[in-house]
């Protein structure tokens, strides 16, 4: 049975998620189809149907620290198969966005750092820059040696670009990032 401590009830999170996704969480009747189809449910400590139930019961910010939030692969099988049409993957996406500045612990693998490193290169060059992104992510996680065995072959085959894209007009891109920063917190 899924329960939460009375002291941790925080209907603010449920309300926020419903407002940002447009999803009515109360229509979930726990059929667990989302969890059955989820490719990482068997590897994660919390399954998608449990996230839905915990939100419904009024779980608070501690939900943002559940491993599924960042283990979710965004495959959207849950959303596609929900008999009530709930965009479960959209709910997970909102939980991820709410982890910014929430004080939630860094998830294993630090996907938020990967995303920041990726997006930073997009903001600067207009397109992602592999070498810059990988270097920033590896330095940040301290996992310097991961995958280095494949780099020489991938470089030789041209599968990793040595230089960033050049000559792309980035004025619009920079304005998008600036607006996104201004809006954060107001419309995540």
């Amino acid at each position: 049975m899924i329960t939460i401590k009375k002291t941790s009830v925080d209907n603010g999170l449920k309300g926020q998620v419903e407002k940002l996704t447009g999803v009515d969480l109360s229509v979930c009747f726990q059929c667990k189809k989302c969890s059955s189809g989820c490719p990482v449910a068997s590897l994660a400590g919390t399954r998608p149907s449990e996230i839905m139930r915990l939100l419904h019961l009024g779980a608070g910010k501690e939900l943002l620290g559940r491993d599924l939030v960042w283990m979710c692969v965004s495959c959207e099988t849950c959303s596609a198969r929900c008999p009530m049409g709930i965009d479960v993957a959209g709910v997970i996406d909102v939980l991820r966005r709410l982890t910014h500045d929430s004080g939630a612990p860094k998830p294993a693998g630090n996907m938020p750092l990967f995303n920041r490193a990726f997006l930073k290169t997009v903001e600067v060059f207009g397109r992602p820059y592999d070498m810059g992104m990988i270097a920033a992510y590896k330095l940040g996680t301290g996992r310097l040696m991961d995958d280095t065995d494949k780099f020489p072959t991938m470089l030789r085959k041209g599968k990793i670009a040595l230089l960033p894209a050049r000559g792309i007009e980035c004025e619009t891109i920079r304005r998008i990032f600036k607006k996104a920063k201004e809006n954060r917190g107001k419309r995540p």
């Binding site: 490719p39 990482v40 590897l43 596609a80 693998g109 992510y137 599968k159 670009a161």
Partner: protein
Amino acid sequence: MRYAYFPGCSAESTARDMNKSTYAIARALKLDLEEPRGWTCCGATAGHQTDRLLAVALPAANLSKVKDMNMDMVVNCAACYNRMKVANHEITTNADIRRDVRDALDRDYDGTVKVRHFLEVLLEDVGLPAISKSLKRTMKGIKVACYYGCLLVRPPEILKFDDAENPKSLDRLITAMGGLSLEWPCKVDCCGGSLSLSRTDVVLRLTESILDMAVRAGADCIAVSCPMCQINLDVRQQDINREMGRNYRMPVIYITQLLGLCLGLRPAELGFEKLMVSPADVLKKMEVYSHE
């Protein structure tokens, strides 16, 4: 036929072979692909996991460029295709988002550019009869597991690409090329591409189960269309073999590369040398030799 072709950023790194083979078969089939000038990143998974405006405005920056070109946007990267269509959907159904995107782009984009996957162009505009007539070679005797992944088919109500649970687009092409497309259960399973660098442990489990099923089905190769799936299934085989004690040597080949061969193009024109797991056995069965 002319199209605004959005290559996507992987076309400049991990998926140069996809891009090269796409252009090669477009030339062979007389499809005119024109890239929007100065196209930029769609934001990919990082965008939509981080911020809703980034998720919609980054694709919209490109869609608005294509709006000025007055053509359909054709995309071959499943991730870009997905983000472009979702952005169109958000902009046409949510006035607040449309306004935020307008402020960010400094122009109003109405969400009406038609976004199509390159497979849709092949199947609908060129058509299987015309493709069959152009074949110089066939895939006779080659068993293919067609793998679609996630981003091409989900969310189904927005993408409306084929059947979300049992798509047949790739299978129909393989059949038209004389190959044997296999019935197998992993067509739309997820390979975990977005976690490839951050949670390699999870990704190895997901890719292993897909490769395992392709082997059990008797596949000579896996045919893909998505560059995230291709690199993930191809490059992770050596990790799986080392860490999980397996012995996979399953070529993971873009449909555009396979079609290119059947249209009589040479492997080098289609970027075959860039694949990590050697496709030599498949090429040999098709009586294609790399010196050709």
